[in-house]
């Protein structure tokens, strides 16, 4: 069949940067209009925005504007989410209305019948009464249950069967049978003359109630996303034409200047151009300490400005901010599924038709072998089988736990890319930690100053920094940064000379100054004296000590090292506590690697590994039968992160562009790895509980509903009880998943 499929057009709003004059407007408009599919494009120069209509996507439009030499980003706010909430609330209320209507009809009958308050069919006026009840029940089926019947019919036409099919068949059969009995009582023996109108109404009521409760519980499962969305402020203080004014966040354009005052949230991503402040980024990174920011530093939308006022330039707006990317990534991960859920998927694919067949078999068995009135028994058992079967609990078991687990992880600054990573994390046996930037801070710093007699720390550091000011070595940078931080005055350097493998030499204030290792001292026949002992000690603790000599006399020792993160040791202890072997991998020499390993307590060290060999080392571990988690800080670790069973990219801050890792940790602490593994394990455990519950429920519920216990105990389930059980089974699954929201990191215990 080939048919034209109607296509709707979209409206987009873009923020355009780089437009300096009215002439640019035409250029941008033409660029947009030339995109295939665009039907209209208008640029607002004052607002620096463009409104585009057509059958295109925002990325293509942005690319066209970029090609024309301008910047563009789609403006998309939180309205989508608010609209979704409004639609959900309306649906939730409709479910309650339907429940009340169906219950108001079914409950009085349900209560009155066993008390003998209802007329029998063959009593005077009995048929009229039951016909009226039948008409009222029909109204309930149409008003409160119409969507089940509509869904069942449409699914049937599409060769599909779903939960609606089961409910519609169960309640529909009850109503048709009952109305036939009322209309033609002679059709069945007098014993079987029982109408099931109340069952149909009560089942519809209970299922609507169950769906309302499930919806309520489901709302909580997406709390993490809502919290992230809630981080974004609604307005921003923009400076346009020299005047400050508050505008909705969705109207902030690229490159606009914005002001943030103390206690306010940063509205979008950008770079500080004036002022400084400390900013609390904990809501995004999970890192509790505020971060100092000054001119040139990046700020991230959604973070909280603590102390100062600053101006910044917007660099990412709308759907392009880090927060928007994080929300998108969490959303995407929430809809992925690990292998553990696949069996449930296979079963649910054939579930409903199988239940239909079981229902027919049930009917036939009762009809052939059951006691009188056979037809009534057969009908009740069939109806109960249809109603009790719950494909939803089975289908929901995995995704709902993933949703809560991934959301919970996001609260800890842990972005899990897919459900598979969750499942693999539970199987890990070994964690490989990259040393630099993962176990250590990743940038060298001055860790010790040991002045000789007659010198003090500041003079020693100032002299060392002066000589290193001209060097580009990373160790030199650590020394000059330390001096600058202390506000020390540096001296002019003459005749700077780098002596490869030894150190540097220069003349400062007419004095010959040397800075370097023991070999440099030997070369110039300088006796380091008692400081040699300190140097050996420092070297044994993975530091790089350097002697400073002035006019042939040692003035002191400056030690530089890549400091170990303060909590690495505790975090590694946590990894040990959950039964993992911890391996550290580094390109550094063995002595330094061993020294760091001793400090933090890892089990195995792989030193002097070239960057390209890290992935091979991971493979070697995997060949030994280990399930390997690799923790690295980015680009040079990318192949190893990809090779590992689970790759953790650490300390990516708010830059979530690391694509090679399965899990991105937004704070720098290794505790994030331990937390990520703990959350993963808790989530997989939760999925297993849900799957087990759903399997047991269906595999026990359906046979009991069919009446397998009847020959032994005389037990035959009431279809209304089956309705209640079915309604509660999905609620139970969702509620169990919600328990994950109470997960707490053991770090804070």
């Amino acid at each position: 069949m080939t048919a034209a499929i109607p296509v709707q057009t979209h409206a987009f709003r873009l923020s355009i940067s780089g437009m300096s004059c009215a002439g640019c407007v035409t250029t941008v408009e033409n660029a947009l209009k030339n995109v295939p599919g665009v039907t209209a494009a208008a640029v607002n120069f004052a607002e620096h925005t463009a409104t585009v209509q057509g059958n295109v996507d925002a990325k293509t439009l942005a690319a066209a504007v970029t090609t024309a030499g301008y910047g563009a980003a789609e403006l998309r706010g939180v309205e989508d989410e608010l609209e979704k909430e409004a639609a959900e609330l309306a649906h939730y209320r409709a479910l309650w209305r339907k429940f009340i209507a169906a219950a108001a009809m079914g409950a009085p009958l349900f209560i009155a019948e066993p008390l003998g308050l209802l007329p029998m069919l063959d009593m005077p006026g009995g048929r009229i009464f039951w016909l009226l009840v039948g008409a009222a029940t029909l109204w309930v089926l149409v008003y409160a249950g119409g969507h089940f019947f509509r869904g069942a019919w449409k699914a049937f036409l599409a060769h599909n069967a779903n939960m609606d099919t089961l409910i519609a068949l169960g309640t529909g059969a009850a109503w048709v049978y009952s109305i036939l009995i009322v209309a033609f009582p002679g059709m069945v023996p007098s014993l079987a003359r029982h109408a099931y109108f109340e069952a149909a109404a009560v089942i519809i009521a209970l299922i609507n109630l169950g769906q309302a409760l499930e919806m309520r519980a489901r709302g909580k499962t997406s709390e993490a996303i809502k919290r992230l969305i809630g981080l974004q402020p609604k307005t921003a203080r923009v400076i346009r034409d020299g005047a400050e004014r508050d505008i909705p966040i969705s109207e902030v354009g690229l490159d606009e200047t914005l002001r943030v005052r103390p206690g306010e949230k940063v509205p979008v991503d950008g770079v500080i151009i004036d002022g400084h402040s400390s900013i609390d980024e904990s809501m995004l990174t999970g890192e509790p300490m505020p971060v100092e920011k000054k001119v040139g530093d990046g700020v991230v939308g959604g973070t909280l400005n603590k102390s100062g006022t600053f101006l910044f330039q917007a660099k990412h707006v709308g759907a392009d901010t880090a927060l928007a990317h994080i929300i998108e990534m969490v959303r995407r991960a929430q809809s992925t599924k690990p292998a553990i859920g696949r069996l449930a998927d296979k079963i649910s694919a054939v579930f409903v038709p199988t239940v239909l067949i079981l229902a027919i078999v049930t009917f036939l068995v009762w009809h052939n072998l059951g006691p009188e009135p056979k037809f009534s028994y057969a009908l009740v058992a069939t109806m109960t089988v249809l109603i009790i079967a719950c494909p939803c609990a089975l289908g929901l078991a995995t995704p709902i736990s993933i949703m809560v687990g991934v959301g919970k992880a996001a609260e800890y600054g842990i972005l899990i890319r897919n459900g598979e990573a969750l499942q693999q994390a539970g199987k890990l046996t070994t964690i490989v930690l990259d040393k630099t930037g993962t176990v250590t801070e990743g940038h060298p710093a001055v860790t010790a100053l040991v002045p000789a007699v007659g010198w003090d720390e500041d003079r020693l550091l100032a002299m060392a920094a002066s000589i290193e000011a001209g060097s580009e070595h990373p160790l030199a940078e650590a020394i000059t940064v330390a001096a600058r931080t202390k506000g020390l005055q540096l001296s002019a350097v003459v005749g700077f000379e780098a002596i490869a493998g030894h150190g540097v030499a220069a003349t400062i204030n007419g004095k010959r100054v040397l800075l370097g290792n023991a070999r440099l001292m030997n070369k110039f026949h300088i006796d380091p004296g008692s400081l040699s002992e300190r140097v050996r000690e420092l070297a044994a603790r993975a530091q790089t000590p350097m002697f400073l000599a002035v006019d042939g006399v040692v003035a002191g020792v400056v030690a530089v090292a890549d400091p170990i993160k303060s909590d690495s040791r505790d975090a590694i202890a946590r990894l040990h506590a959950i039964g993992l072997k911890v391996v550290m991998i580094t390109g550094d020499n063995r002595a330094t690697a061993d020294a760091v390993a001793r400090e933090v307590g890892v089990d195995e060290v792989m030193a002097e590994v070239l960057p390209g060999e890290k992935a091979d080392k991971v493979t070697a571990l995997q060949q030994r039968g280990e399930v390997v988690g690799m923790v690295g800080d980015g680009i040079n670790d990318a192949p190893a992160l990809a090779q590992a069973d689970v790759g953790y990219a650490i300390g990516t801050g708010t830059d979530v562009a690391i694509e090679s890792a399965d899990v991105a940790l937004m704070r720098g602490s290794l505790h994030g790895v331990a937390d990520a593994i703990a959350i993963s394990r808790a989530t997989v455990r939760n999925i297993k509980q849900n799957l087990f519950g759903a399997f047991i429920y269906n595999t026990l519920g359906i046979p009991v509903a069919a009446g397998v216990l009847y020959p032994l105990t005389g037990l035959l389930l009431n279809p209304m009880i089956a309705g209640a059980a079915m309604a509660m089974s999905s609620v139970t699954v969702v509620s169990n998943a919600n328990r994950l929201r109470w997960f707490r990191s053991s770090k804070t215990l």
């Binding site: 069949m1 080939t2 048919a3 034209a4 499929i5 109607p6 296509v7 709707q8 979209h10 059958n55 996507d57 989508d80 609209e83 959900e88 309306a90 649906h91 969507h147 509509r150 869904g151 069942a152 449409k154 699914a155 036409l157 599409a158 060769h159 599909n160 069967a161 779903n162 939960m163 609606d164 769906q211 499930e214 919806m215 489901r218 959303r331 995407r332 809809s335 992925t336 599924k337 998927d345 649910s348 694919a349 054939v350 409903v352 038709p353 067949i357 027919i360 078999v361 009917f363 036939l364 009809h367 052939n368 037809f375 494909p391 939803c392 289908g395 929901l396 995704p399 709902i400 897919n418």
Partner: protein, 120 residues
Amino acid sequence: MNTWLVNVTGLILIGLIVWWFWFYRPKAQRAIGSQPIEIIVMDGVYAPARIEVPAGQPVTLRFLRRDPSPCAEKVLFDSLSMSADLPVGKPMDVTVTPPQPGEYEFTCQMRMYRGALVAK
């Protein structure tokens, strides 16, 4: 009632269920050119539910969700490791590329909404 008649009817019904839900393959709607294919999400079904697309080429599906119940809120392409959130009443474009000929199922989270891309 005649037991034989009931039994035979029951068995025929079982046969029909097996054929209708498992063996019958409805014709797929074919994608035209590079235009997005609009799929209405309502009353428990995707319409159209079977769509024929060329293998190895990206195809854009425009989902329009009219069902506000949470069942319809996500569409998952398990075998393509893709998914999307569907806003109520607003079109949502999902571009997928079926790598080779075959059937690629798309479903809601509970797998009650079901559809398939038939890549040829």
